[in-house]
């Protein structure tokens, strides 16, 4: 593991790798987003119960899935940062956190505007929404802890530890919230949303959803890479390689950023 990771402990090598893989996320991400949007909004058939309102699923579900996925990847970066003392991994934690928080917020917001026409209320303490809300708190905690430190290295390490503690806790939170929800279940309306995530969803709806899930992954990963590269440049702005990259900026403006 260390042998494999070691070259990327150097900021410059990480930056170069990032520049290389960025287009592989950004371009498919943008293309799939375009396809998924048109397909989901215009071509997928309406739902027999919810009519057109179900189309929110095409942003809600991808955001919800990746909000969790990015938390796990943030914790993995934190683990690498702590075990092998790799600074670029700390920076990755800090690059992922805001993107993950944004995805969580998106899933909450779209869940609320979906809930309003379906349930007649903006917010229900549905298990899904509640655990997303807690996930948002966890992201905010990681970001707030980092910002609170004056010493950026100490902040990065503290945030990594918190991310790890959080990821151990997430399954427990998840399970407890679902259990709590069945305990206090007053109606069965939440099943309306849950139905879409079962395998019984019609293929005409499933395919655009799958496209959107991959589209979101591409976009979010591209954002993380862009943020990570910015952080690398900012920390190493005195170093020749960073100055070279920043000076040559204008001509490769379009694909370097």
């Amino acid at each position: 593991m260390w042998r494999w990771l070691h070259p990327y402990a150097k900021s410059e090598a990480t930056f170069a790798l990032n520049q290389k893989i960025l287009p592989w996320f950004l371009i498919p991400g943008l293309l799939l987003t375009a396809v998924g949007l048109v397909w989901g909004l215009a071509y997928a058939p309406p739902d027999y119960q919810q009519g057109e309102s179900y189309r929110i699923i095409f942003v809600h579900v991808p955001a919800a899935i990746w909000s969790m996925g990015f938390y796990v990847s943030m914790a993995i970066a934190g683990l690498i940062a702590l075990v092998w003392q790799i600074r670029t991994a700390e920076l990755a934690v800090l690059a992922i956190a805001p993107v993950g928080a944004a995805l969580t917020f998106i899933s909450l917001f779209t869940g609320a505007v979906w809930g309003q026409p379906m349930w007649g209320t903006w917010w229900v303490w549905d298990a899904r929404l509640t655990s997303q809300l807690i996930l948002l708190f966890l992201y905010l905690g990681v970001m707030a802890l980092y910002v609170a430190f004056e010493d950026e290295r100490a902040g990065g390490k503290a945030a990594s530890i918190l991310a790890l503690v959080g990821v151990i806790n997430i399954p427990i939170i998840h399970y407890s919230v679902y259990w709590w929800n069945t305990l206090h279940q007053q109606s069965t309306i939440t099943k309306v949303i849950t139905r879409f995530e079962s395998p019984s969803i019609a293929p005409e709806m499933l395919w655009p959803l799958v496209v959107n899930i991959f589209a979101f992954m591409g976009l979010a990963a591209a954002l993380v890479i862009m943020r990570l590269n910015n952080e690398l440049l900012r920390r190493e702005i005195h170093r020749p390689w960073a100055q070279k990259v920043l000076n040559s900026g204008d001509k490769e403006n379009s694909n370097a950023v």
Binding site: G51, E52, I56, M226, G249
Partner: protein, 65 residues
């Protein structure tokens, strides 16, 4: 195509406000993050220029003294 007309597409069977606000907020957030990253890079570029200029001034002062 599921919609007969442009206006039907906008109306979304009466759910237009919800559907479009969900999509708008989603891509607004993603766009904001992307813009911030691009803006940050521009700032860094300025910062690097400033630093190089400072370095040159220091070296010039050293040579002249």
């Amino acid at each position: 195509m599921q919609f007969d007309s442009w206006s039907a597409f906008i109306a979304m069977g009466g759910y237009g406000v919800y559907v479009w606000s969900a999509f708008f907020v989603t891509f607004f957030c993603i766009g904001l993050l992307a813009l911030e990253a691009v803006w940050r890079r521009t700032k860094l570029r300025d910062e690097a220029k400033k630093q190089q200029a400072r370095q040159q001034r220091i070296e010039k002062a050293k040579r002249e003294s």
